[in-house]
Amino acid sequence: MVCNMTVTKVVEIPLVTTEVPIGPQHPALHEPLLLKVYADGEEVVKVEVNTGYNHRGVEKLCEKNTFYRDIFIAGRVCGICNTVHANCYVRALEYLLDIKPNNRARYLRVLAMELERIHSHMIINAIMAEIVGFETLFMQIMLDRERVMKAKEILTGNRVLGDYMMIGGVRRDIDEVKRARIRDLLVKLKPRIEFYKKVFEEDETIIKRLVEVGLLKPVDVTSHSLVGPVARGSGVRIDSRASDKYDAYDEIPFNVITRTEGDSWARMMVRWDETLEALNMCLYILEKLPADGNPVPDEKRLPRVIPQGESYARVEAQRGELTYYVMSDGKSTYPYRVKIRTPSFNNIINSAFMYVGLSLADVPVALTSLDPCISCMERVIVIDLEKNTKYKLTLKELAGGRV
């Protein structure tokens, strides 16, 4: 990336809040991650990802707490993808214990995870709409997202953090009334999602801002270990739901969405298609929910010591492949080692090469299309080396070309 062009501007984008769940320890960030963009006029010549932020030390924390307390800590690594985190950790323990939950529990787990996928994809699409300056669409999508949140609340008992997974099953069952209510909410949501998808497909503003921005070739994707919708938007078929077939994904029909364009627009469209796919899966589950016994294990009777061994679970989170490695020494109630690798850890840190050649106003768009977990981006600091000035902008203003 060495370049003989002159650098006239340096843009620092501190992803100030949350998620860019970078991390191993899900380093939570504040000052979490700094994207340092060197620009020649309007053109980006170099990007440094600076990780001078903090982490919360989740992996060490997991070693200090018991297996069961870790289930709740794992769910709190990331608020938006909490059920997949908990599911991945719980399945890693189940592999060690050789427990298999019954069919109803497996279906309910998939239902919770797919509801989460719907709301996560909706929120990132809403943020994208806001970034390109389409605020009405942002408000509309956020309004419809409340239906999913209600469905999640009915299913898990809390709007965001479900705490739904437990070794050997789930933590609460649903009855016929709840089933009908969730179904009702999702059926009403479906035409709205189709409408938004159409807006993203046909609206001129969005197409002009998104198409051909942040191109990624398949070879870049695999050599830089990019995962999830980012990889699928470039035509690389990585989907651990289809390959590992965990929980009930072997019985529920779904398509793996891939697109070949490889730009920001393709990534957003992959997300909309996946939302529809997830919606159909939820409706299928609600239709065909098996009734083979109680899915809720008695937490008082679960084994406290996990047998010795290692396990490695993969799960397809909203942002890509999420993996947990758990090692138990078989002697204590504490895990010996827990390793968490969140998808954004790969997608954000390893993708600095993607921005080179873009114009400055496209950087926020390309960044958002990687789904760095929302509210992250508050301010941008622009240092103009020619005028020797420094000023602050919001990311939205940068996207609007006010540099």
Binding site: N65, T66, Y68, R69, D70, F72, I73, G75, R76, L143, E153, I154, G157, N158, L161, D163, R171, R172, K198, V199, E202, D203, E299, K300
Partner: protein, 132 residues
Amino acid sequence: MKRPKLVELVLQNLLRKPATIQYPREKTPVEEDSRGIQYADLTKCTGCTLCALECPADAIKMTPIPQGYEIPAKNPKKIYPLIDYLKCVFCYRCVKICPVNAFIVTSKYDIAGPIQINSEEYSLSTVKKVSG
């Protein structure tokens, strides 16, 4: 994109109610079994401290039952779990793990306040006060 019919849209939106809920003036209904605050029922609690050990956030402290309250006979240590709601993450691990199912669950959520908030008042209201 197909151009929407303007008059039709305007009429539609004029007749529509606003989406906003009137929250503080009208309480919005929450799910009855959504996870609100929980507290120990002292008539059932045996003071076994299992919940305090299992709490992922260490929000539960076993506290002696103050003077002037009727202490049930099955609680030999005369202690009860005091939940610090500022630490509590509302995962309901304590509710599920309790061997005597002593926790009362509610869907109450509006407990914000300027000071430390805990379950003392709620828990002690479950036992009778004895005079003197």
